[in-house]
């Protein structure tokens, strides 16, 4: 076989495999959206789920997912940015920094189910938070922290040196430089990273099985007292999220329309992830323009 023919065959194979990947994504998205979107309507998005009858909705699950996401971000963002700032600005090259880097790497590669089990043991049982939104949010924080640390550190390192030096020359304190000069420049990248991480939180399920639970008490959307069990904003109530619901419906769903509900929920979940992706790109570009006055 001549070298030229081999080259042609190899090129063909590479292009064919790449086309296969594109076809896989298009096929999967198409399947979910075609199967699911016909099932999505206002009733489906707001109604209570049914265990045995057909016609159940995903209202509480959708609310739980969003609520859990917001709570997680409230906890994660300050902690993650703080640790990221430490890594970018305060850490001196040395053994301690190397080991902190290793900690971040290991923490981000722990299987989600193991982190979930840790949450079950420590948060649910030992701290007695029970299966609750709070336990779920704290476990998701453990996932999200390494991601935020990396994003923040990278964003801070990408700030031009001159900006920092200008601040130092003005006699500002290091903290003042971080908060008033570096952070605004780094913010677009941090926000983009945060939104992408939010997409991941939204889809996470394995860790939530053991922490946020598989059930939701009947929610009363007129009750905003955070200590009442039926209040949607009570952080100590169990909360089944949308992705956990998909798993539950698939593995132990009894209702006759379980397949449709799974398809509809998957479509909602995928659409949310798509929206997060688009939002991340758009917000990053917009904020970058706003903060740097680059057209």
């Amino acid at each position: 076989m001549s070298a030229k023919l081999k080259d042609r065959i190899a090129t063909f194979v590479i292009i064919a495999f790449s086309a296969l990947i594109i076809a896989l994504l298009v096929g999967m998205l198409g399947y979910i959206l075609v199967k699911g979107i016909s099932h999505i309507d206002w009733h489906f998005l707001t109604a209570e789920p049914e265990t045995i009858k057909a016609g159940g909705g995903i209202g509480p699950e959708l609310f739980n997912s969003v609520y859990l996401l917001i709570l997680t971000l409230i906890i994660t963002i300050p902690l993650g940015i703080g640790a990221g700032i430490y890594m970018a600005e305060y850490a001196k090259e040395g053994r301690i920094t190397v080991s902190i880097r290793l900690v971040v790497e290991v923490l981000s590669s722990f299987p989600s189910i193991v982190v979930g089990l840790f949450g079950l043991l420590v948060l649910v049982n030992t701290f007695n938070f029970g299966f609750s939104v709070l336990s779920g949010a704290l476990v998701l924080t453990i996932f999200n922290m390494p991601l935020m640390v990396r994003v923040t550190e990278q964003a801070f390192r990408n700030v031009p040196r001159e900006q920092k030096e200008a601040g130092l020359a003005m006699g500002l304190s290091r903290w003042k430089i971080i908060t008033s000069i570096l952070l605004p420049v780094a913010l677009p990248a941090i926000i983009t990273g945060t939104i992408l991480a939010a997409g991941r939180i939204f889809g996470e399920a394995a860790a939530l099985l053991f922490t946020a639970g598989l059930t939701t008490p009947k929610l009363d959307f007129t009750d905003w007292n955070p200590t009442s069990l039926h209040s949607p904003i009570n952080p100590l109530r169990p909360a089944e999220t949308l992705s956990v619901h998909i798993w539950k419906v698939n593995s132990e769903g009894l209702s006759p329309d379980a397949a449709e509900i799974a398809a509809g929920s998957s479509a909602v979940l995928v659409l949310m992830v798509l929206i997060f992706n688009l939002l991340a790109r758009w917000a990053g570009r917009l904020l970058y323009r706003k903060f740097t006055s680059i057209k």
Binding site: A205, W247, S266
Partner: protein, 309 residues
Amino acid sequence: MKANHETPPFMKANQETPLLFRKHRAEEWIGRIYTTFCVALLIVIIVSIVYFVASKGVSTFAVNGVSLSGFLFGQNWQPDSDKFGALPFIFGSFVTSLLAAVIASPLSVCAALFMTEITPNWGKKVLQPVVELLAGIPSVVYGFIGLSVLVPFLRSVFPGQGIGVAAGSIVLSIMILPTITSIATDALASLPRNLKEASYGLGATRWQTISGVVIPTVLPSILTGVVLGMARAFGEALAVQMVIGNAPHIPSSLFESASTLTSVITLNMSNTVMGSVQNNALWSMALILLLMTFVFVLVVRLLERRTKI
């Protein structure tokens, strides 16, 4: 006497720190303490995860007296008759993640080559978002598609029920594709131009350049991606659990129901009583997952040390 001890006025002025300086110092401390606290929290989290999982996982052997070799190499998982052989699950985890890597690696490397070597301009514009979206799809959705498309397909083509190691590996391979692809793409893109140009200058074809120069140079990076992908596959729980069938024995074919460490933990953790032998055995499996994470990170570190272009 007292007057002698008083500081003379000209020194007093120097001792009093200016207001701005004091403010700066306070700020500096707040910043330092806050960021150090955040980092310390990370360390506390990881230490406590390892401690709690390990103490629970070890108690199977230390408190309940299950033998370690019986757990690691025993083939019978019958908690009711006190048989806690976890080999079927360990086997299932290793086989599915290895197979997933075998399926995903060629696809990912081809995608990376397509983006960097074949059509660097529009190839990247098309495939990059595709890969990012694949990475963004939640694992339960992969499981759902596997269950409703892949399993019926396998059932109609191959003998058996469709569920099993094959279905699990295929679902996992699609899930780890983005990991391997993005790392391989980064490595290929950072390859110095002159290496390739030298090869082309000698009259090599594109494929000769790719197979003789490009791939050997970036191989450690590609392997890093493969190992990271395998680590992800090894720890993935719900997508695999949904399609693998969950039978607690070593399958004799790829199309026979099997189990992984993650799937058995997912299914049984909430059905067993905290502190019982069966429950502790599940924690031992979690400990295996944890230890494997360290192994994967170690391998990645070793590979990265060789990645010096």
